[in-house]
Symmetry: C2
Subunit: 412 residues, 2 copies
């Protein structure tokens, strides 16, 4: 199938498998935690390929690696592809890696076809996307796009006690290039990624045209009632915090179900106190996560949660403390670039559907300061952040071909 | 008020306060864990009072302390009062202690009035009622009544690593008297206890005539769905174990609410896995506790839980594993002795109401092999197993007076 494409699917798959050997885990996954020696080895492998392809390289001040293929007019801002090479502790072989190595394949295929674009091309490997060793995630793209302060990020202490800034210095990932979108403007940014969800597989569609990223509102709720002995306390005299919490779990679920096809809502944490078989729970802590690609709709979901949770608590005789923990507005991608991705798929004869990104990606930060689009390919069972994460060579080949066409059209 | 009673409320209160000094905690409670030196000191204080009152004492083979006041016909089986002196780690001053010291007050008051009963009287301090250091609870009464095997109880290892049998030997609580109801039959057993629930206080009634103990069925349930990323997984494709668990919490609550005035139902433990803000829970473990004083009704509640929980799981696309963890049949107390308690309260002009014991007590094991009744007095806010546990001197005085009359009537 991939022989019909401008990119070489077999070469891409061989690169993916070679990268997966660095930090390979017992169960077929990869472990290259950010800024470890294995992360460095992964970058070194890529750097060798880039050097062979005649590209130049720099690392910016926060450890993002920029690989550059000159354009015919090098005064123009570059068209950028990218993603990340770091992984979760027991991560998969494709999350992030696919976007980087498909970018490498695009550069190689342009060489094969003897094409020089007008804009220079760049392939970026963002520093610490996963946030597994150093939290929060997406630090490199976050600093570059102005969402995070570089000094605060350097001061972050990891789960193993290491200071991020010290690790940057140790790896010599502390270059002179500023990690700042204002000083290093880009013409466009494209990121190919595995979906990390089940929609494409469920729909039987091999490619997702990502129109934007969901807005997210995260909450912490505490319900307080009265802890008491489960035996001698009649039902009518109880103020059971868990019964109230159960109704809020159901409420959060309904808000997502009734909020339209693109709404998502989840309670991921629920802690019961005192946590004893025969004691009525006096306090329950729970989290809620609401997502929608349209901010006005997300605001309406937020109001519904606040109003109805208050009613649930009042009816159950409980005190409710509801706190918004995090708010990330919806991020629509650049309509012209999204169209270009859609047209590229059509031109290649690859069935595609519009999709909204529910997960965070470097592209979501980049989109705040630069025209951006993303391409999704299916992953088996929607499973990611797991050694069992899997895609097919054809999935990878289709994604890379669409990336090639979209980038070429933008940079030409 | 207590001056109208045959017992001396002030003397009882002084004894309660003196006992509370042994193992007194910073916040006004008591800590005398079973078989510790503080537990021994508590018994020694009581033993001194019993000796002063001319009683004899033995410790049986499992560490129950039996204090004896002779009757005019010592061939008759004794009428027994009792409860326990051990406490929770941050326990109150009255749980168990009230029943023992009110028994002591009954013995003293009979001396005051120069009364010799026909039956001998005994005051028993059961070994390890609380089950806090050595689990399960009610070990001494459980062995005596045949519910537990003495050797298995001696082999129990406590939370601090101590072996119960070694602790019995160390305290010389390993007497020759058999811990066996068949070899040491009793005529009747009365236990005065704080309610440990809110019913008497809520009703404004100062005394409870306990007609029996609730049957209990305890369950462990595990719901299994599919863990997935909270962002990219549409609501319609989810198998969220917590949404199913929330419906089972609501179901358990309804079973108790709709099961009649005496039904109780509680989910006390609920554990979510993987337990992350942005991950759909793939598995939830929860417990359920159903109680009713009538076994046939309890069986009906059991069937409803099994049927409707299965439906909840099926409708949510989840697997359900439901396991009965413990089943304790309902225990009606002896109707003649219950009447005697009721008549004693009436004779003393103390308003009383029938009540069912929702908590476990030594009396519940004893009732399996010996005519038994219990008397409840209110405790402030229904709070127990807590340093804040509180009763008034009048509560204590009323309970002791009713105990006196019921025991005297039975033993005369």
């Amino acid at each position: 199938m991939s022989t019909a494409y401008p990119t070489d699917g077999e070469r891409l798959w061989a690169s993916l498998m070679e990268m997966a050997r660095i930090g390979a885990t017992a169960n077929g996954g990869s472990c290259r935690l950010a800024l470890t020696d294995l992360d460095r080895d992964g970058r070194a492998l890529l750097a060798g390929w880039a050097r062979d392809a005649g590209c130049t390289m720099t690392t910016d001040a926060i450890g993002n690696l920029w690989i550059r293929r000159p354009g015919s007019d090098d005064t123009l801002p570059p068209v950028v592809m990218g993603s990340h090479l770091d992984t979760q502790p027991n991560g998969g072989r494709f999350d992030g890696v696919l976007g980087v190595l498909a970018g490498m394949e695009v550069l190689r295929a342009l060489d094969d076809h003897g094409i020089t674009t007008r804009h220079p091309l760049e392939l970026v490997v963002w520093m610490n996307e996963e946030g597994a060793r150093f939290s929060p995630p997406m630090m490199g793209s976050g600093v570059w796009s102005g969402a995070f302060d570089a000094e605060a990020v350097r001061a972050t202490v990891g789960q193993d006690g290491a200071r991020l800034g010290d690790e940057l210095d140790r790896q010599c990932w502390n270059g002179d290039t500023p990690a700042d979108h204002e000083q290093t403007p880009k013409a466009a940014y494209f990121e190919l990624h595995i979906e990390q969800g089940p929609v494409l597989e469920d729909t039987g569609c091999p490619l997702g045209v990502v129109t934007g990223a969901q807005g997210q509102r995260w909450y912490e709720l505490t319900l307080t009632g009265q802890s008491a002995h489960a035996g001698p306390t009649p039902m009518r005299l109880r103020r059971d915090a868990l019964v109230g919490a159960a109704r809020i779990v159901e409420l959060v679920h309904r808000i997502g179900l009734e909020g339209g096809e693109d709404a998502c809502s989840t309670v991921g944490i629920l802690d019961v106190s005192p946590h004893s078989r025969n004691v009525i729970p006096g306090e329950v802590f729970l989290t809620a996560d609401l997502r929608h690609p349209d901010d006005a709709t997300l605001d309406a979901l937020d109001r519904r949660l606040r109003d109805e949770a208050a009613t649930v608590a009042r009816d159950a005789g409980l005190e409710l403390n509801l706190r918004e923990f995090w708010h990330f507005p919806a991020t629509p991608f650049d309509p012209a670039l999204v169209d270009r991705v859609r047209n590229s798929a059509e031109g290649l004869g690859i069935p595609a559907m519009d999709i909204v990104s529910g997960a965070g990606h470097d592209a979501v930060y980049v989109a705040k300061v630069c025209p951006t689009a993303m391409i999704f390919v299916p992953c088996e069972g929607g499973i990611s952040h797991n050694e069992a994460e899997n895609i097919t060579p054809d999935d990878a080949a289709r994604g890379a071909a669409v990336l090639y066409e979209a980038v070429r059209e933008t940079a030409i």
